[in-house]
């Protein structure tokens, strides 16, 4: 059965956005032109898609999983793995509903994970174990985006992307950017990351450049990331 997608209501939004997008040959940033919004993955394309997404829905996304930062961290660590969706949902639901008193007792969480997914990666298990046992010594600052991310980076098993992801989720932060592979691919394609190597060595520079790009386009970084991820993933 065909699903009808009616975008006729977007006509005015498209016209208005087109008026605000400079000519394709004009520069959006150094050595990067706006390009045509009819061509995939140009700056003009992203700006148009952002406004089209904005046109209909409120576009507010509640990223936070839990009011407990440790649940948030574990949730994100689980979300990283190539689980089948139903496993992740099952595991996370049971973790967040078992009660924090039980959650941090012994191997409760880990036994739960193994009962649902016996092949849970050993190394990742180790990271979660360490997090649970060391949580009282972490002293996480949960009212300062960049401080929280710096602290999270000291936790084994949490790299730049994860730390940014947790911070973005928990504090609804726009000072950090979750640079997953699809977003990075989109940025390289535009020429935004010319001269940069990869996420491991250049995360802060990539993030800074992305935030500046979003400022120029007048779009919110987390939402732009979401759109980029969706679109790049679709074309794969």
């Amino acid at each position: 059965m065909k699903t009808k997608i009616d975008e006729s209501f977007l006509y005015d939004t498209i016209q208005e956005t087109l008026r605000r997008i400079p000519q394709p040959s004009e520069m959006v940033m150094k050595r990067i032109s706006w390009g045509s919004c009819e061509t995939l993955f140009t700056p003009a394309y992203w700006k148009l898609q952002y406004h089209l997404d904005h046109a209909e829905e409120d576009f507010s996304i509640n990223h936070r999983l839990s009011d407990c930062i440790y649940e948030e961290i574990v949730g994100c660590m689980l979300g990283l793995y190539e689980f089948q969706c139903e496993y992740r949902t099952e595991i996370f639901y049971r973790i967040t509903h078992m009660g924090s008193k039980n959650w941090f007792r012994g191997n409760t969480v880990l036994n739960l994970i193994l009962s649902i997914f016996p092949k849970f990666p050993t190394k990742r298990m180790q990271y979660i174990t360490e997090l649970i046992s060391d949580k009282d010594s972490l002293h996480l600052t949960i009212d300062d985006d960049l401080k929280l991310r710096s602290q999270l980076l000291q936790v084994n098993g949490i790299g730049w992307k994860n730390a940014s992801w947790i911070t973005r989720n928990f504090l609804d932060s726009e000072k950090v950017v979750v640079l997953d592979s699809n977003v990075i691919k989109a940025c390289f394609k535009m020429g935004l990351y010319e001269g940069l190597k990869n996420r491991s060595s250049d995360y802060l520079r990539m993030e800074e450049t992305f935030i500046e790009f979003c400022r120029i386009l007048d779009v919110i970084p987390s939402k732009m990331c979401s759109i980029m991820n969706d679109h790049v993933r679709t074309l794969k």
């Binding site: 699903t3 975008e7 009819e38 995939l40 997404d53 999983l65 924090s100 997953d180 679109h231």
Partner: protein, 110 residues
Amino acid sequence: MSGGGGGSIPTINRPGGGGAEDCGSLRIITSVASPDSDVLVDVSEGDILNVRTLSNEGPVIIETPDGRVVGSVLSREMIRLISCINNGIEFNAVVNSISDGRCVIEISSE
């Protein structure tokens, strides 16, 4: 027990977002972008127009059967449309209405 926020499983980006749909079921109603008025004058409601891309990254253009370009497609579904066309799926566009220089079409797979 800690209270919930969104309560859904963590994903990198928009919860529940993404998810490819079968190309055959894709049906989009949209307006032709930047229509050529000289070509549009020969287009009528009910006409079937061709949909094709100029490259595997777009643009998506709408043409009359004799190859004249009516305009292009600007849509939230551009990425899916281009992806499907790149995978060999053919689409056409039926003209729903033409009014004040605005041409509304319905794109679907052949």
